[in-house]
C-alpha cells in the first residue's frame, strides 16, 4: 500500500459511458491481487474532497487500468483526463479474490460495471482452469465484456442473450458444472450480490463477492465503510476486510 503520483496514459470510452483509464505508476502493480482496488484523488481541488475507489481492472507491466462509468462529479472529472495528467493514487488496497485452490470451473458473474475487476482476475487464474463469464445488464448497451472470456449474457429487457437478470441466468446454467469443482467470483450492484449469495449459500456453492461501500479513506482509518458481518460481533470494513468477501461472511 503506497501513495503515488501516477501519469495518465490514456482515457478511452470503450462503449457508451464506459471508460478505461490507464495510468503509469511506480507503485508495484505487480504485487496487486485481482479484486483489490485503488483510491484515486481525481484532482487537487476541495470538491470533490474525498478519493474515489476503483477496482484494478488490469495490470500490464507498470500500467494499471481502471474501468468506470460516470456516476457523479468525480467520475466525470476522471473521464476528462488527458494523457500526461497526474493522478494521486493510493493502492493496491484491500483483500482481493482468492483464486488459488483446486476448483476446475471459474464462473465469473458481472453485473454492469461490476465487470471491472475481472480482466485482471482472468489473467491470474491458472491456465488449466475453465473460465466462463456471465455478464448481465439492464439492456444490451449495459453489458460490459471488456477482456472477459467465454461470455454469456443476460439483459433485463431481453435485448440481448438471456431474458432476465444474471443470477437467473446463472441458475439456469449452473447444472452444467460440477458443484464441487466450481468457484464463483462475482461483482455488481448490492441487490444482485444479495440474490446471488442467497442462491450460492442455499445451494452450497463456493462464492466470493466484491462489495462496494461509500469510503472516506480506503485503508482502515475512518471506519466509514462498514458492513454487517455474519460471524462477527464487530462490523467488517469493506476497505480492509474486503472488498472481496466469502458470500456467507457478510450481510449486504
Amino acid at each position: 500500500m503506497i501513495e503515488k503520483n501516477a501519469i495518465v496514459k490514456s482515457v478511452e470510452e470503450i462503449q457508451k459511458g464506459i471508460f478505461i483509464l490507464k495510468v503509469e505508476s511506480e507503485l508495484s502493480a505487480l504485487e496487486a491481487t485481482p479484486g483489490q482496488f485503488c483510491n484515486i484523488k481525481v484532482d487537487d481541488s476541495l470538491t470533490p474532497l474525498l478519493r474515489r475507489p476503483f477496482s484494478i481492472c488490469d495490470v500490464e507491466g507498470n500500467i494499471i487500468s481502471f474501468q468506470f462509468n460516470i456516476v457523479g462529479e468525480g467520475t466525470k472529472i476522471l473521464s476528462q483526463k488527458k494523457k500526461g495528467d497526474i493522478l494521486n493514487i493510493i493502492g493496491p488496497l484491500g483483500v482481493g479474490f482468492n483464486y488459488s485452490g483446486n476448483y476446475e470451473n471459474a464462473i465469473i458473474i458481472a453485473g454492469g460495471i461490476g465487470a471491472a475487476p475481472f480482466p485482471f482476475l482472468i489473467e491470474k487464474i491458472p491456465n488449466n482452469k475453465n473460465i466462463i463469464s456471465f455478464c448481465g445488464g439492464r439492456t444490451k448497451n449495459d453489458i460490459i465484456s471488456y477482456k472477459l472470456k467465454n461470455v454469456i449474457t443476460s439483459t433485463d429487457d431481453g435485448s440481448e442473450g438471456f431474458h432476465g437478470n444474471v443470477v437467473e441466468l446463472l441458475e439456469s446454467e449452473i447444472h452444467k458444472y460440477d458443484k464441487a469443482k466450481t468457484k464463483i467470483f462475482a461483482c455488481g450492484p448490492n441487490p444482485m450480490l444479495r440474490a446471488l449469495s442467497k442462491f450460492t449459500i442455499e445451494n452450497g456453492y463456493e462464492c466470493e463477492i466484491s462489495t462496494e461501500s461509500v469510503m472516506a479513506c480506503g485503508f482502515g482509518i475512518c471506519q466509514g465503510c462498514n458492513v454487517e458481518g455474519v460471524h462477527s460481533d464487530r462490523f467488517l470494513l469493506v476497505c480492509k476486510d474486503g472488498p472481496v468477501f466469502n458470500a456467507e461472511d457478510v450481510k449486504l
Partner: protein, 305 residues
C-alpha cells in the same frame, strides 16, 4: 533548515511540534503508520475509547458534502480492556506522544476510564470527548451543558495528574463559557472543534444519506467556524487551545496558531493525504524560517486585531 524550535507546551506536556493527529481519524495508529512516519509528529490522539466495546452505527456512516464530509461512526471502538491489551503495546513502539481520547455515557464512565488508563505509562495525556454528536447516550448532551463539562472536568481531574484536554463542541452559542469552565476545574487545555451537526438527504428515496440521520460535519468547509471558535476562546480565556477543523495544509495550521492555537490536530485530511502531517511539519518549519520566527510557540495568538 535548522535553528527553528518547533516544540510547544500543553500544560506539563511538551510536544516536539504542534502537529497532532485527531481522534477518530487515525484509528490506533497502525494503518496510517504505513503512509507517514509517526515518530515525527507532535502527538497522536486515539479513537475515542469507552469503558465497553461499542459496535458503532450501522451503515451508511459517511457521506461527502461540499468541501466536507458527514460522519456518524457512533464511537465504534474496541473498549477499554482490549485497548489496553492490544492497542497500547503497538502504540508504545511508535515512539510518538500518545494522547488517549475518552468518550462515555455517564460521568462515572469518564472517571473510570481515566483511572484505568492513568497507570499506563504510554498514555501521556487525556482528551475528554464531551462533544460527539453521533451517539445518543453521552457526547453532545454533555458538551452542550456547561455544568456537565464543569463536573466532568473536576471529577476526571481528581483521578489523574496527567494533562487533561477537554474537547469542545462547536454546536453552542458561546464556546468561551465552556473553555472557562474547563479551565476553572483544572483542565490543562481545550481542543476545538469537534464536528458540527449536519445532515444530507437523498431526494429520491427521501431517506437520510447516513443511517444515524444526522452526522458530524468536518473538513475544509468548517475551517472558518473552527477558527472563529479558537479566536473566541483565545480572546476570552487564558488556557492552551488545540485547534482542529478543516486543516488541509501548513497554511491552515499557521492560521489556527495565529488565532490562538498552541497546537493543531489533523482530521479529515488524513483520509485524503495520509502523509499530510509530515508535509505540514515541513511547511511550518519553512514558514518560521521565512518569517524569522525562532520559536513556533511565538506564533500562538499573534493575531493583530
Amino acid at each position: 533548515m535548522s535553528g527553528v524550535d518547533l516544540s510547544v507546551k500543553i500544560g506539563s506536556l511538551v510536544l516536539q511540534n504542534p502537529v497532532m493527529l485527531a481522534s477518530g481519524t487515525v484509528g490506533y495508529g497502525n494503518e496510517i503508520s504505513e503512509y507517514t512516519d509517526l515518530s515525527k509528529i507532535g502527538g497522536i490522539v486515539t479513537k475515542s475509547v469507552s469503558l465497553h466495546p461499542r459496535k458503532g452505527n450501522p451503515p451508511t456512516r459517511i457521506t461527502e458534502t461540499a468541501s466536507g464530509m458527514l460522519n456518524a461512526i457512533g464511537l465504534a471502538n474496541v473498549g477499554l480492556e482490549e485497548f489496553i491489551k492490544t492497542k497500547i503495546p503497538f502504540l508504545k513502539n511508535l515512539d510518538s506522544t500518545l494522547i488517549c481520547n475518552i468518550a462515555a455515557s455517564s460521568i462515572e464512565e469518564y472517571v473510570e476510564c481515566t483511572k484505568a488508563l492513568d497507570s499506563e505509562e504510554t498514555v501521556k495525556a487525556f482528551e475528554i470527548n464531551v462533544s460527539c454528536p453521533n451517539v445518543k447516550d453521552g457526547g453532545l448532551i454533555f458538551g452542550n451543558d456547561v455544568n456537565n463539562v464543569r463536573k466532568i472536568t473536576a471529577k476526571v481531574r481528581a483521578v489523574t495528574n496527567k494533562p487533561i484536554i477537554i474537547k469542545l463542541s462547536p454546536n453552542t452559542a458561546s464556546i468561551k463559557d465552556f473553555a472557562q469552565a474547563a479551565k476553572d476545574e483544572g483542565a490543562d487545555a481545550v481542543s476545538a472543534i469537534n464536528t458540527l451537526v449536519g445532515t444530507a438527504f437523498d431526494i429520491y428515496t427521501k431517506k437520510p444519506k447516513i443511517k444515524n440521520i444526522t452526522g458530524g460535519l468536518s473538513g475544509p468547509a468548517i475551517k472558518p467556524v473552527a477558527l472563529a471558535k479558537v479566536l473566541e476562546i483565545s480572546r476570552n480565556v487564558d488556557i492552551p487551545i488545540i485547534g482542529i477543523g478543516g486543516i488541509m495544509n501548513w497554511k491552515d495550521a499557521v492560521e489556527f496558531m495565529i488565532c490562538g492555537a498552541t497546537a493543531i490536530q489533523l482530521g479529515t485530511v488524513n483520509f485524503i493525504n495520509p502523509n499530510a502531517s509530515e508535509e505540514i511539519i515541513e511547511g511550518l518549519k519553512n514558514y518560521c524560517l521565512e518569517t524569522n520566527l525562532s520559536k513556533i510557540s511565538d506564533l500562538t495568538g499573534s493575531y493583530l486585531i
